[in-house]
């Protein structure tokens, strides 16, 4: 189904749909991911954002970084807004012979895993032709680092601190991809801005389908994960190389690991570079570290088995 595979960075030069001057923190992973996704997207493109760091930093009224039509409504309804736009444009193109548009909705992990999941489920079930992108910085960053359903076990946030009663978040991360895949949509994939080629081609693939698609992209956050602003891509790459963030796709129900990691780095390599998680390396937190490792390993093994089923 792949049309126009992107092979080199040079093919993307000049395709930016965001302008500089936006107010994201220096080194923001979300902005790198969004920038790459938009460069890869087919045009004309309409973007929808849920309330989030992306929304707030991209449109300091009366300015906007977006160079393509963009809509923000609420925190919980990016998928609903995208559905309405898609339905309206479908009618317009039929009635007035208007050009077809592409639509991408962006939500943070809070806006997707938690508050927007009902809207997302409805949009996927109704079959609207759009990509929903969840950029995952694993907490509610814009309001000051509160834990979300996407925060991993043991991670320190302002509502799951490391103290004497609890050591960071006490629950494992929700497996959002599995929830999305259960809707039997044509295309769902995970991605990382460190692996830009994998990411941009997943965008192209998603847009080749006449139905809903979903991309779950890791978005390291220097403020909430506590690492140096220069290390955003390094951290994203370590997430992939330790199997913390498996890169895979589910195309018409068929699983495929798109970036095999035959010799994974120890999970500790990913944890130790971020202060929200580095306490898991302390001897007293060994049990939590083991649970987190078990989660990561079980998910990887499951994905491997599923991929083998469809190979």
């Amino acid at each position: 189904m792949l049309v126009g595979e992107i092979k080199t960075i040079k093919e993307l030069y000049g395709l930016d749909l965001i302008a500089p001057g936006h107010r994201a923190c220096a080194g923001c992973g979300a902005l790198i991911a969004v920038r790459q996704i938009l460069m890869a997207s087919k045009r004309p493109l309409i973007v929808v954002s849920a309330t989030s760091c992306l929304e707030v930093t991209s449109t300091p009224y009366p300015q906007t970084m977006w160079k393509t039509p963009w809509v923000h409504l609420l925190f919980e309804n990016a998928a609903t807004a995208a559905s309405g736009i898609e339905a309206a444009l479908k009618v317009l193109s039929r009635k007035y012979n208007r050009q077809e548009h592409y639509i991408i909705a962006f939500g943070g992990d809070g806006g997707t895993f938690d508050i927007g999941i009902q809207a997302l489920s409805g949009a996927l079930e109704r079959g609207h032709r759009f990509i929903y992108v969840c950029y995952d910085n694993e907490a509610y960053m814009n309001t000051g680092i509160q834990r979300s359903g996407a925060t991993p076990l043991g991670a320190a946030t302002t509502t799951s601190p490391v103290g004497t009663k609890i050591v960071g978040k006490t629950q494992q991360k929700k497996d959002l991809m599995e929830i999305v895949v259960a809707h039997r949509i044509p295309y769902a994939a995970t991605a990382s801005p460190s692996h830009w080629k994998d990411l941009v081609n997943k965008v192209r693939k998603a847009q080749s389908y006449d139905g809903p698609s979903f991309i779950h992209v890791i978005a390291p956050c220097t403020r909430g994960w506590y690492f140096d602003t220069s290390e955003t891509i390094k951290v994203a790459r370590l997430a992939v190389e330790t199997r913390y963030w498996p890169l895979y796709e589910v195309e018409n129900g068929r699983y495929r690991i798109t970036h095999p990691v035959p010799n994974p780095k120890p999970l500790e390599e990913f944890l130790k570079v971020q202060r929200r998680l580095s306490h898991l390396l302390l001897p007293e937190n060994a049990e939590i570290l083991e649970s987190l490792k078990a989660y990561v390993n079980e998910r990887w093994e499951r994905l491997q088995k599923l991929s083998a089923c469809f190979a």
Partner: protein, 90 residues
Amino acid sequence: MASVKTTTLPGGIINRPGSTIDYKTGTWRVKRPVVNLDKCIGCLICWIYCPEPAIIKRDDGKIDFDYDYCKGCGICSLECPTKAIRIVEE
């Protein structure tokens, strides 16, 4: 093409795409990336990872910085495969 009746909905409307360029985020910077053009091979890896974007391709294929917007995060320097970008104090 038949005309389409439109209604303006209430809400904030911004009619200048990309207008954040009015705001120079370069003033945030405390450290500055500097490229050694002898080492730069024009691979654009720095460019694909810049969050702003604040990297420009020169006519010779090598890169230059747009210091009006570069926030000095240092990602470009860490990711450059030939170590062509140094970070210096402002």
